[in-house]
Amino acid sequence: MDTVVYLALSAAGLALAYVIGDVIERRHYGEIRRREVATRQCMATTARTLPEQWSVAATELVTGSVVISVDHFKRFLAGLRTIVGGRVKSFESLLDRARREAMLRMKEEAIARGCDAVINVRIETSRLAAATRNGKGTAGVEILAFGTAIRRAG
């Protein structure tokens, strides 16, 4: 009897986590797309070459970072995956969102400083370990995007 109750509660908890997580994710994606369109004019590139006709008035180092947390349902699926192996699909959307958010924040900082492009963009990812469970759990994933923002002269 205890097992059944435990199972039912776990399933309910997971379902709740999934539903709420899904809603949050959709909303975030909508916002991301909107902002990507809005910041499209500020070109980001991993290269260092500028167009020939550009002359540089100023440069700034800009960064954008975000820490995203994993919801319970995603964590549950990822845990099962580590036993069976394969692609952890539940984490893909999480990291996609985090990365795009970080890039957007970097671009938005560049635009706020009046810059026209960001060159030599680099992206770094790191996992934040949870304080509980001997640091084995994941408290969140931090993504940092940084580059050199260029302000054109004229």
């Binding site: 059944v4 435990y6 999934y18 500020c42 070459t49 699926l77 845990g79 036993i83 699909k89």
Partner: protein, 343 residues
């Protein structure tokens, strides 16, 4: 070169998943991996266990039970049960164990075969038994488990499984869950074998098997309460009717009389039955000293006994015994020619 900012297509870096499908596939995969592991461990243990001597087992387990047992020496109920166990074990010629009996304060009827040669009996069980023959059969059934070393199999498998899971699974909650689902006492074959051995012991002690099975016939609805059906599903005990019929058929086949004088329960072992919904902690209890073997009235029939060491004695999660209803050949089961001969 010119800058022409464009946006890439959506959704390249993610795969839309259907939550139920993904969960079902993964859980199925995990259960399959767990099942495979259990089967492999079961086979490995079958091969290794005959080499673990009872002496070794007793020496390793005694430190756990000795203090509790010492506390029970003065208990009259213990003093009523221990001679019964000794008499029964006396008919098992190959007995390598120094069998001890212990009492557990618990309203649910239960009996455990614990590594080291200790048989634990709950007060709930004593409350429901009405003759010495019934108690004898319960004890003899547990002795049967010792004879086949079932308790070690389960302990070994449970510990190995927990270790593997803990090491590789990263303590994932669903795996604990899967373990819980598959963890139920001894499996059907072990139970049936212990039944047969137990009946043989009882027949050897009393010369007949009258009254021994009454306990099983008596408690049909004790466990059928709120959780009856579900508990029945998760239990690995053979269905009572089939079990009783099988045992009666065995008695007929071996020529053990089904009737005969039934020994009454020792007064020390008389207990008031406690309602099922009150559940207490397992603890050693004191009882009254009494003289076993005084004649009493007719025997009553009981029902299934849930046997599971892990329920009370191995509380750490994941370290509980793991049984699995899979047929794995048990080579060291006592075969009929190794059973005790009737007196």
């Amino acid at each position: 070169m010119e800058y022409r900012p464009r946006l890439p297509r959506e959704g390249v870096n993610r795969t839309p998943i259907h939550p139920l499908r993904e969960s079902a596939v993964l859980l199925g995969g995990v259960v399959a991996v767990g099942a495979l592991l259990l089967v492999v461990l079961g086979i490995a243990l079958n091969l290794l266990l005959p080499h673990v001597s009872a002496d070794c087992e007793m020496r390793l387990s005694r430190p756990f039970w000795a203090p509790g047992q010492a506390g029970q020496q003065g208990d009259p109920r213990h003093q009523a049960l221990q001679p019964l166990v000794d008499r029964l074990a006396g008919h098992w010629s190959d007995n390598p164990y120094d069998l001890q009996v212990g009492l557990v304060e618990e309203p649910r009827p239960n009996a455990f075969a614990v590594p080291g040669g200790v048989i634990l009996v709950t007060t709930g069980l004593l409350a429901r038994t009405e003759s010495e023959n019934e108690v004898a059969f319960v004890l003899a059934h547990e002795i049967g488990h010792f004879a086949a070393r079932d308790h070690l199999r389960r302990l070994g498998r449970g510990l190995l499984f927990a270790w593997v899971v803990g090491h590789f699974g990263g303590g994932v909650a669903p795996v604990d869950l899967v373990e819980q689902i598959t963890a139920r006492g001894f499996d059907r074959h072990q139970e049936a074998a212990a039944d047969r051995f137990g009946l043989a012991l009882v027949a050897a002690l009393y010369g007949h098997v009258a009254g021994a099975l009454d306990f099983f016939q008596r408690l049909p609805d004790a466990t059928a309460g709120a959780a009856g059906d579900v508990a029945a599903y998760f239990s690995t005990h053979p269905v009572t009717r089939a079990r009783l019929d099988g045992l009666r058929a065995l008695a007929r086949e071996r020529g053990w009389p089904l009737t005969g004088p039934v020994q009454p329960l020792a007064p020390a072992l008389h207990q008031e039955a406690v309602p099922d919904h009150e559940q207490g902690e397992g603890q050693a209890i004191e009882g009254r000293h009494d003289d076993p073997g005084r004649p009493q009235g007719a025997a009553v029939v009981g029902d299934e006994i849930f046997e599971g060491v892990e329920d009370h004695l191995l509380p750490p999660p994941g370290a509980g015994g793991v049984g699995f209803p899979v047929t794995v050949p048990y080579r060291s089961l006592p075969s009929p020619d190794q059973w005790p001969e009737a007196a």
